[in-house]
Subunit: 238 residues, 2 copies
DNA sequence: TAAAATATTAACCAAACATTAACAATCCTG
DNA sequence: CAGGATTGTTAATGTTTGGTTAATATTTTA
């Protein structure tokens, strides 16, 4: 198979620096789209499918953090690297909060950037085993359409699921009869793993259990300290 | 279960700086072991089970890189952060080559370090969760699924095991018919080796023996002063 | 922009789990 | 073989996690 180059969205307002960095990345076998401000960056992000975003923090109109937040709304997976003018503590902390994968202080060494890019893409690649193409699931006598967020019991009227209910049930279904680690759902769905998100998840588990009650053979079990398990008994076939 | 703090090995030759950094980390709920040179660092590394190593690069006798390489030989997983005196490109690249997870230039902001530590430990934790090491064991007429923490006797209902019961039984199974040193279980499972954890372990051994009673051919023997041995008699095949 | 839908936070209780204590049994060494 | 050290066992005490309901906050939608 022909190796497809990884796509990078580079958002940088300094045209000289942007061009140089772009060239450098292209030489190193990346496909680079350059945007010169946050506005343009977001437009280009929506039009394509990037493996990585490199965002300058200081930009006119729309700064890197705001852009990052918009990108995160569209896509919870894509890695983001920030470029900050100097090692400002608040910048760095803010970056991590918005979901950055790394940050880099200007001026930086290009080889270091390259190293980081490779490390991050590599990491994401190994994480992305979670299938997000499948969206229909048979769960005992229920049928879940996670695209429409419908949960249907036999021939009854479908129940509408909220986004979080939907994603959580889908993730459980993807791990049917197996452990779905708490942490996985928290980092993937809630994008944060702390006391409150954890409690929030418990609330959602309770909601799902309520929905699933009509089918005796479907159950969400807890594995203390680890996560949950969606068990489907008396399954006829696979 | 009492939350066990993460253990950090800090190797730093400047006693003042080392002490200050250690205190700072201790205040932030880490358990810190401070070594004042590479030699000592490696000795301490071998004696315990750390979640993270922070190594100063410039040290007498044995520099940070050499130490990192030795640590990597023993353990390919543990995250390593380097502290470099200044942003030397070669230093950074060399660090990555040796398998660093991050590096930090002195002087650095302590909050940034803390952030990095948390991010790295978090990342490692999520990687380890998906670790597909062996998790199913046949123990005489029992079957242990250590991922779901189930112990099943023939066709009966599975017994749910607590995390410690599970890990301990798994470790015994990994040393089937052989000595499982007390100290190994204590450092790996209890993450500490003292009078109380040792007694706690004995309590768990008693619990496991109770579970395993139904099969005459399975026994946990004590080897006085050494550890335990899971023996499985009349084994039909491997 | 108000109502509806969704999500988070709080509070309380129960269950699961781990540690400690206390005492008995066993082992080992001088 | 006496006595300290180690191990076996049960029970109590302590801690963390999870289940649940409801109040509050936030976002979406009409």
């Amino acid at each position: 198979m022909e190796e497809v180059n990884k796509k990078i969205l580079l958002v940088e307002d300094d045209p000289n620096f942007g061009a140089v960095l772009k060239d450098y990345l292209v030489i190193n076998d990346f496909e680079v789209t350059l945007a010169k401000n946050g506005m343009e960056g977001f437009e280009k992000f929506k039009k394509d499918n990037f493996d990585l975003c490199i965002l300058d923090v200081m930009m006119p109109y729309k700064d890197g953090y705001t852009l990052a937040r918009e990108i995160r709304e569209k896509n919870k997976e894509v890695p983001i690297i920030f470029l900050t003018a100097k090692s400002m503590k608040e910048d760095v902390l803010k970056g991590y909060k918005v979901g950055a994968d790394d940050y880099l202080n200007k001026p930086f060494d290009s080889e270091v950037l390259l190293m980081k890019i490779k490390a991050i893409i590599q990491r994401k690649a190994s994480e992305t085993k979670t299938d997000n193409t499948k969206f229909e699931f048979q769960i005992g006598k229920f049928h879940l359409n996670s695209k429409l967020r419908f949960l249907t019991f036999e021939n009854e009227e479908p129940i509408k699921l909220s986004p979080k209910e939907n994603e959580l049930l889908k993730m459980l279904a993807l791990h049917e009869n197996d452990l779905m680690p708490r942490e996985l759902a928290l980092t993937k769905i809630w994008r944060d793993d702390n006391y409150f998100t954890s409690r929030s998840m418990d609330v959602y588990i309770a909601k799902l259990r309520k929905y699933l009650k009509p089918d005796e053979d479907v159950e969400i079990l807890n594995i203390h300290g680890e996560g949950f398990r969606l068990v489907i008994k008396n399954k006829v076939s696979e």
